[in-house]
């Protein structure tokens, strides 16, 4: 996979030990259609969490 979207990461630095999002993953973060779907999904998840938390 091409890595043109990545900036140089200094080997052996703390940053080099982390996950790096792919170009597609970054695109999805602000893709309105996908994020609308995630908006619905996250809201459902949060609603379930609230229902589970009330005693």
């Amino acid at each position: 996979m091409a890595t043109k979207h990545m900036e140089h990461i200094q080997p052996y630095s703390p940053q080099a030990g982390t996950m790096i999002p792919t170009k597609f993953r970054k695109f999805l973060r602000t893709c309105v259609l996908w994020q609308f779907i995630r908006f619905i999904a996250i809201n459902i998840k949060m609603t379930l969490l609230i229902l589970k938390s009330h005693h």
Binding site: P21, T30, V32, F36, I50
Partner: protein
Amino acid sequence: MARLVVMGGGVSGHTAATFAKKWLGNEHEVVVVTPNSQWNWIPSNIWVGVGEMKKEDVVFPLAPVYEKAGIDYRQAKAVSLHPSGSEKNEKAFITIEYTGQGKEGQTEEVTYDYLINATGPKLNFGATPGLDQGYTVSVCTADHAVHANEELQKVFEKAKTQKQKILIGTGHGMCTCQGAAFEYIFNIEHEAKKAGIRDNLDIKWISNESFLGDFGMGGMHLNVGGYTASSKIFAESLYSERKLEWVIGAHVNKVEAGKAHYELLDGTAGAEEFDFAMLIPPFAGVGLKAFSKNGDDITADIFAPNGFMKVDANYNAGAYENWKASDWPRTLQNPTYQNIFAVGIAFAPPHPISKPMSSPNGTQIFPTPPRTGMPSAMMGKAVAHSIVDMIHGAPQPTHTACMSEMGAACVASAGKGFFTGTAAAMTVYPVVPDFEKYPGVGRDISMTTGEIGLAGHWIKHLLHFAFLWKAKLKPGWTLIPE
């Protein structure tokens, strides 16, 4: 007629008072004592701190709301607690000192049948030498955030022509509220990019967490790509992606103009220079004193040494290895005085959630437990429900709000913008890990989730309007969950 007095009008106190009044009606009295004239939706302060919102967007005056609700509002700070009354006053009461309403400085005794302590924290800037000298800013209140933005804009202006250093994080080894600093650093980075000055800014994180993504909850594990992975991995990924360096396990022990000195968990010392720094102060109780009927000081019986109120928690759990989910309070009732409750930041947690750590010099460096946001509102509502039932004859609290039995939804902004904004939308269940119920990572991994994206930003912005709507008691406010 019974009288419920609520000390504090923040998220938990306001929730408790408004629900209690709604359920009690005009047969009983609800009094709110708070030194503030305005209610503040604190989670949006970070947007005030970067100039994306104005102070007026995150606050509103309390008096008209309480008048509409039929709540007796006293703009005053609580000074002392007299749970058995005094020689002159048979009933339990608190003494208050007015900060507004034209009675500034006047003191008064306010009797109660039930008392909720929702005083929130004292922002303990004095714990770190120099933190209270104006060398750094904070976003803990709306006014602080306004000031933070004024200072930030000066640095942004300078960054158009020269390199500038920004330091964001916690100002002491025992801080909580890393989430606010997390949001602020990412919002600054986002705004710097928008302003075209990112290349001239060196932005660094400093915190008392032993790993990035601890957040005072011992971190959390998320299900991603077939693995259950630590929040450390996701936090480090995000910091790296946004080119934010980090210093962790740090106790900031001295701040001077343009420089923060710190000690690390390995005992070494260091210093960071800055042109702009936002360092969250540690929290302490507000310093309420308690007295017996004959005037003896019983503060230590009711409050923990850090000033937070003792409730039905197990304060004798001992070492980290012995901690259990059941140590955490359920009813939030004071064990000595059954008509006193504490909610939100005001209750004394039995112990931290993150593992306590010390440097070889004996300096304690670890996050203290968060009790803000959704959990604090849920505590306020549960305690209001219990008190209403007790006023109606229930012998003991009927509702619980235990942090080891409740979840939290947390939306941490990483930049504002309807199409360009992002936020980390996280759910965690339960807030306090329960390793007996959920062996392994201590939490229900189907309910502990996190992702970053525009959807999170939309939710955070939506919550801003929803919670202000709810706090103003506008139509349908009870339908909006805590």
